[in-house]
Amino acid sequence: MTSPLDSYTVSMDGLHFSDEAKARMAARLQEVATARDAEKNAQPAAPAEVLTTPARRPRRWARVAAGLVLALTLGGGGTVAVAAGVLPNPADVLFDVFGGAPAQTELLNEVGRPIGASATSNGVTVTAEAVVGDRSNFTVVYDVEFGDPSALEGIEPGEDGTLPLVAEATRYVDGVNGGGGGSWFFDADPGDGTIQYAETMGFTTWNGAGIIGRTMRFWMSEIRAYDAEGGYTTLVTGNWSLKFEMNYVDTTVDLPAGQETTWQGADVTVDAVAVSSVGVTVDYTIDRQIGDLGSSGKMSDEAKAKTEAVTGLPVTVTFADGTTFDATNANTHAEEQDDGTSAATKTVTYDRIVAAGDIVSVTVGDVEIPVSAA
């Protein structure tokens, strides 16, 4: 007679995926691997994706692994995290990111969405609280709750209100092929043992379909505390893995396109312009390519100039109150075409949230495109 543990082994041996399921998974993983390889290989040659820090708000800009694509089409097998307990008002969560007038509070509640997905590791709970965004951009705020609040002692905000903390985090949205953005920590309610981590990102998608309704996957493994000299200590390590759907109100408005302009002597065609309550996205084709930038590492001045000549096309958004937002340094993704041109996309969130009707125009190069023309 056999041992019961032999029976157990026999039963477990009988558990396996079908060949079809394995082929499906391998195909999806191949997409991820291909996109990741492309991103790695592109780093020295395509600094168009290197992100810069806009002056408006100090943020630690992080490169997002371009092309982390995973088009999951699971039949009922999805495990998108669901909300636990009472969900917050989006405005309560997002107010410290966008700040501003009460009208923005109303707007945030109108277009933002609560999330509530949560993960706990090593006594620290990370909860995705709320999201707001448009077809290409999003801002997510995560609560980071320390079971032992003394871990936060001595962590004081800087002049800009951000905490001197950096997260080791990765995120991707199904179906994206490139993107990036910024992240920062702040403390909405000092003394409650919970700090906030915000990410503002812009992504391009394979087919331009956008990120709304897609699944977001977020992982964080470490939070580091930096000192004034640039040294750091590890505040906490863990394994926080969250997944949620990018469901929020899409206020994206497509503007007329096809205009011609020039940038540094090269012809530019505006292929698409979209604005929303939270950001702007501009697609253009420029009759120039970045070309070979030499070895990887710190970019030479020549390499920076070659990059700027393709990706530096000025973009400005003008609001009804007369203020403007400079989107020139947006997250920019440029792809070289066979005909010697480059197809570029700039996408970025504003430093505020506005009603779509309060956006007057978008100026690309020297072409002003009125929003009322949409």
């Binding site: 041992s3 019961p4 039963s11 558990l15 998974m25 391998a26 993983l29 191949q30 990741r36 999951l72």
Partner: protein, 174 residues
């Protein structure tokens, strides 16, 4: 970054071939169900592909896969705790395609049911030690417990199984 000589490659087909069924069994052990296994498997292997640090050797990689998949399952269990969609005390689904004649299969199913009725820490230890073949100190490393704790869990699991399966077997490990 120096890549160890024995570092395994990250070919997607190899990863699925090597780990898909492993993750399925991890899911079944933790969740008593395989309905989320494809999703967990996909997430785990995407993390593996995206991981920057190389693995020392195939064994290092395998243990990492088990740990990541197990963590994903724990998160699912926690989420279900807040919003239970499936009763965790439900009778576990039988393993598919268990070979053998009817009597043997019924007995295999009884054993599997008894193992799956164990508390999670014991179930996890039984799976890793008796199915995956990890020595107790490796099981301890994977599940984040001490060697003594793992040995105790295995001892309790065997006692419980012996009690539940009394009469079916005569060579139950002590």
């Amino acid at each position: 970054m120096q890549i160890p000589r024995n570092a395994p490659d990250r070919d997607p087909e190899r990863l699925v071939r090597a780990y898909a069924d492993l993750v399925l069994r991890v899911c079944y052990t933790y969740l008593r169900s395989t309905s989320d296994a494809e999703d967990v498997c996909q997430d785990t292997l995407v993390k593996l592909i995206c991981r920057d640090e190389p693995f020392r050797d195939p064994g290092h990689e395998r243990a990492w896969v088990i740990r990541v998949a197990a963590n994903a399952c724990r998160n699912l269990l926690r989420d279900r705790g807040a919003h239970p969609a499936v009763g965790l005390d439900d009778v576990p689904e039988p393993a598919a395609q268990a070979p053998g004649e009817d009597a043997l299969r019924r007995r295999d199913d009884r054993v599997l049911g008894a193992v799956m009725a164990l508390p999670l820490p014991q179930r996890e230890a039984v799976y890793l030690h008796y199915y995956e073949g990890y020595p107790t100190r490796e099981v301890a490393r994977i599940v984040g417990a001490t060697d003594d704790a793992v040995r105790q869990r295995l001892s309790r699991a065997r006692a419980s199984l012996r009690d539940h399966l009394k009469g079916d077997y005569d060579d139950f490990p002590a």
